[in-house]
Symmetry: C2
Subunit: 229 residues, 2 copies
DNA sequence: ACTATATGTGCACACTTGTTCACAGACAGC
DNA sequence: GCTGTCTGTGAACAAGTGTGCACATATAGT
């Protein structure tokens, strides 16, 4: 299939009867997909060239401009896609409901499963969160911010620490999510043939999340630290 | 000074009486410095070109090869430099001793001061930790790993949670350090003319660290989670 | 059915990039 | 002091890059 793409270069030839806008979106997605694929092979986004992407997508370089002004614009679109994945993940976890035993382990399991199902999205998110262009960083930060707020609201809804102000809940969630993203990056970097290391990393990850929630249970809304010794 | 560099391009002309090895190391450091400077201006390491670096360093492209085979090799040297900075930070904190009141706030203050004193090192560390080439990622992971172990040992020495196995202490420290690096990245990205936002971020950061240690105090060595409900 | 439009092609251009090679000058050891 | 060695220079090259332009061709609206 990849070879097929490379041989018959004409994107318009592959789907000659699908409506105009539909085909446009198809090649647009092919460009995005190409970028993701290239990134999952060691390359990082800022080092991708426009031509490289179009080549991988099976499209002539100039066709790129029909969809994006810039590589940066493609980057932003990518971030949006990753954000979408994140939100679907949240919905998935919500759907699973609130198990009575070992909530954390359960949620983490869903999370890890999701990470492995969308490795390219998570790698991109983790990698460009601090690395990419300033614009891309900001975009990712926004996405993560949304995620944090949604998660905090979810905790609200299930009545978790309902005595805390939203601010505090979001602080906690942000810590959790940072930990999640770091773990995703670590796990995706692991050689696939090391199930032992994988398990260790996962256990470590679970421990960290558990630790955070242990702290969260003890958190006091407004500790007046200056008078505390 | 930057202009001076660009005008008189000959590096050998600038310091004509300083010993051979010494001058070699000087231009080597200039190359490293150039890379750091370029990175602190939006560029990320993988997008740097060899020529760009030599240009900024005020050296002809071919001179690069006298110091590094590769850009990757320069990257590794950079990581080492960042690791050195991290270790000096740790020594600084150690030197400060163990204040009796509000240890966390105190340590965080030192940390933030350090981050602002070496912004380029911390940006690089945060950014290439997930973004760079696989080799660079691994190198950073090693440095961070050392840091984690040293910090865990320090906690040991001051008798913090001496009942816990080293493994658990390291898990805690790794969580702390992840949070530290994320915070560094966030803070360095902030527009400099927003002291209010800066303060909020710092407070949030302190809260997170505090939360982690709150959890750490409650952590049980071997919670048999399967029998716990 | 005819025409205008939008998507993808092909070619062109000016640049930048990494790397090779012969060369110049400063230093170190005899 | 002479000679060999090492660091930095300069010109050169092939390859890759972003982008502008005129062209094809399938589609949508009349």
């Amino acid at each position: 299939m990849s070879a097929r793409r490379k041989l018959e270069s004409a994107a318009g030839v592959e789907a000659p009867g699908a409506g105009r806008g539909a085909r446009k979106q198809m090649t647009r997605e092919r460009l995005l997909d190409a970028a993701l694929t290239l990134m999952s092979g060691g390359n990082s986004f800022p080092s991708l060239s426009l031509r490289e992407v179009t080549r991988e997508a099976g499209v002539v370089p100039t066709a790129f401009y029909r969809h994006f002004h810039d590589m940066d614009e493609l980057g932003l679109a990518l971030v949006e896609e990753c954000g979408l994945t994140l939100r679907r993940l949240l919905r998935e976890v919500r759907k699973a409901g609130v198990p009575t035993t070992d909530i954390i382990r359960h949620s983490v399991a869903i999370y890890l499963q999701y990470v492995r199902a969308h490795p390219r999205h998570f790698r991109t998110a983790a990698s460009e969160r601090n690395g990419g262009s300033p614009a891309m960083r900001q975009a990712i930060r926004n996405e993560v911010g949304h995620f944090v707020r949604e998660m905090a609201q979810d905790l609200r809804l299930i009545g978790y620490r309902s005595d805390l102000p939203t601010e505090a809940l979001e602080m906690i969630c942000s810590l959790v999510i940072n930990t999640m993203l770091n773990a995703a990056s670590d796990i995706l970097d692991l050689p696939a043939d090391q199930p032992q290391l994988t398990r260790e990393l996962e256990e470590n990850f679970i421990s960290q999340i558990r630790l955070v929630f242990l702290g969260a249970e003890q958190w006091r809304a407004d500790p007046d630290v200056r008078h505390k010794k």
